[in-house]
């Protein structure tokens, strides 16, 4: 039994999955892009050439310097290194993603599990609620919420989380509604298993693939909408190095000092593209239907 120990089996399964993943070049590129963004954001103080340029630093002699070896992305209207600010900007983007999806996904999945499994009035209440949230365009809703509260990063994160859960609820609802008639669910019931066991031990593990694909694809959109909010002045406030804010303040000096908004804009695009390529790759790998 040397070759078929459980651990060897598991290891072989992982290696097979990695092999299949590797054959999809777009997914591998996506993974590399996402990893790069994470590494750069985590080690920002070490990676950024001018970490002190992140806050309210001002150096008017160096304002609006075009891209050069010292400042690959140029400098902004206060003479700050744009590359350093983009690198720190990724920290904010990823904080936004983790916070928004960290709240919205578990909450949305939980409601989806309950609606799909119990049906009846539980389903009616939850699914009508998702309809209400779907009927309102996301950006409009986020604008309204952040405008009603005050425009801060925290409030825009809360607004996005409030908007995001219902997509996961709908996805998990349809998944669970079809899974709950599987015989292993009935077998668990006949064995006397609790609803808690059936929801979280039998059904949830079978939703993990769809959840992870959907969440990866979502990450890019959360960054985009978050950037949109701060572009409109409703997210993080200057001098915080937020990518959306940087695009917006750089736009004042277009087209002459184009690098001021183009590079932060490309940086946003880079993360969105990375998450989407990775999400598509995972979807093919795990063979799941999302939306």
């Amino acid at each position: 039994m040397s070759l078929t120990t459980p651990r060897a089996d598991r290891l072989r399964a992982v290696r097979r999955a990695w092999y299949r993943f590797r054959r999809n070049p777009a997914a591998v590129v996506g993974l590399a892009m996402v990893l790069l963004v994470f590494v750069v954001a985590i080690f920002a103080p070490l990676v950024a050439p001018f970490p002190e340029h992140v806050g309210g630093f001002v150096d008017f002699r160096n304002r609006h310097q075009p891209p050069s070896w010292t400042h690959p992305f140029g400098t902004d209207n206060a003479g700050r290194d744009i590359l350093s600010r983009v690198i720190f900007g990724y920290r904010i983007s990823l904080t936004l993603v983790v916070f928004v999806l960290g709240l919205a996904v578990p909450f949305g999945v939980l409601l989806g599990l309950l609606a799909g499994y119990y049906g009846g009035w539980v389903e009616t209440v939850i699914m009508r609620l998702t309809d209400v949230f779907l009927a309102i365009p996301a950006l409009v809703m986020a604008l309204a919420i952040t405008a009603a509260l005050s425009p801060t990063l925290l409030n825009s994160m809360i607004a996005l989380a409030l908007l995001w859960w219902n997509w996961h609820t709908r996805l998990i609802y349809t998944t669970v509604a079809s899974l709950k008639h599987e015989e292993y669910v009935e077998a668990a019931k006949v064995a006397g298993a609790s609803d808690f066991h059936i929801l979280f031990r039998e059904l949830l593990p079978n939703c993990v693939s769809v959840i992870s694909v959907k969440t990866t694809l979502d990450a890019g959109f959360v960054i985009l909408i978050g950037a949109g909010l701060s572009f409109l002045g409703l997210g993080a406030q200057p001098p915080t190095p937020d990518l959306g804010t940087m695009v917006s303040s750089g736009a004042n000096y277009l087209p002459e000092y184009w690098w001021g908004s183009i590079f932060p804009g490309l940086a946003i695009l880079f993360t969105i593209l990375g998450f989407n390529l990775l999400g598509d790759g995972l979807r093919d790998l795990l063979d799941v239907e999302v939306n």
Binding site: M1, E182, Y184, E186, A187, A191, P205, N206
Partner: protein, 334 residues
């Protein structure tokens, strides 16, 4: 009190049929309609019938997955109709499902599946490993299978795990809903053999559901034949297979493929069943089998037949057994 382990008394299940935007109830499906059935301790009772006759619905009511619309379920002398969902009852009755492909959770290992009933019924966790090993041994699987996932198992192996799961809490009755119909013939025979051996070792009772009558013959002590939610004929295996009395049973038997001359000679001289089983939402008046019965006469259209006791063990629901009515009809046997 009779010594029966399980007694079904006029058990019925009606499903509402919903239509339209507001899911209004527009009618009912009488999936099971007044079934009386007994199972003794250690007895194997077969339940046969075409697809849609209500066999699975009976099974699901017995294990508490469905609540009966009418009628009672008596287990070990106690009416459990109201407590089909309770733990104490669940320990004593278990079920093996039809589709090995979906009866095990693809994300959970064999050991995980076997632990569910152990945990629920409070078996101390220190004994689980040993218990899982002996359960796997009981169904003739090596102990290493505990760590395997369903996709690594064949259909027959999955069904063995499902049987082990049912055995985990030492039940007294196992409902087998077509446990072998998705398997190859050779695998089927092995699983049946296994089920018989386990029955002998543990003195279990089985309710064995199948539309395959040839499988029932050697397996079951008694057999009931269902048609559109009602039992058409009930008797010992010999009653049914050697002396079938109901035209439906005769028709079913006529459509079994046979392998030997001797078996051919045993077959009733009966035409094959014609036509399709009608929808249970729209049951024919009088005798529900009359639309497909080669002997149907006027009374069959108007009066629903009752059970006629043909012997102590054998009963059939057909007007042909009623001398007053059958006078006008041709006799059962040529």
């Amino acid at each position: 009190m009779s010594g029966n382990l399980l007694e079904l008394n006029q058990l019925s299940k009606r499903f509402p049929v919903r239509k339209g935007l507001f899911q209004r109830v527009v009618g009912h499906v009488n999936a099971v309609d007044g079934v009386d059935l007994t199972i003794g301790r250690g007895e194997i009772v077969g339940l046969a019938g075409e697809s849609g006759s209500g066999k699975s619905t009976v099974a699901r009511m017995i294990v508490g997955l469905l609540t009966p619309t009418e009628g009672t379920v008596t287990f070990d002398g106690e009416d459990v109709s109201k407590q089909l969902g309770t733990l104490a009852f669940k320990r004593r009755v278990q079920m093996v499902f039809q589709n090995p492909g979906s009866s095990l959770n693809p994300r959970r290992s064999v050991a995980d599946a076997l632990k569910v009933p152990l945990r629920v019924h409070g078996v101390p966790s220190s004994t689980w490993a040993e218990r899982i090993r002996s359960l796997l041994e009981m169904v003739e699987l090596p102990a290493t299978f505990a760590q395997k996932y369903p996709h690594e198992l064949s259909g027959g192996q999955k069904q063995r795990v499902a049987i082990a799961r049912a055995l985990a809490v030492q039940p007294e009755l196992i409902v087998l809903d077509e446990p072998t119909s998705a398997l190859d013939v050779s695998v089927q025979a092995k699983v049946i053999e296994l089920l018989l051996r386990i029955r002998d070792e543990l003195d279990l009772a089985y309710l064995f559901i199948s539309h395959d009558l040839s499988l029932m013959r050697n397996f079951s002590d008694r057999v009931g034949v269902m048609y559109l939610g009602k039992l058409a004929e009930m008797g010992t295996s010999d009653d049914l297979f050697l002396r079938p009395q109901h035209p439906y049973t005769q028709g079913l038997l006529a459509s079994i493929p046979v392998v030997s001359e001797a078996e051919e000679a045993l077959k009733p001289t009966q035409r094959h069943l014609k036509g399709e089983i009608p929808s249970p939402a729209n049951v024919p008046s009088g005798c529900r089998f009359r639309t497909r019965c080669p002997h149907a006469f006027d009374a069959c259209r108007e009066v629903a037949p009752t059970f006629h006791e043909l012997s102590a063990t054998h009963a059939s629901r057909c007007h042909l057994h009623d001398p007053a009515l059958a006078g006008s009809a041709e006799p059962t046997k040529a």
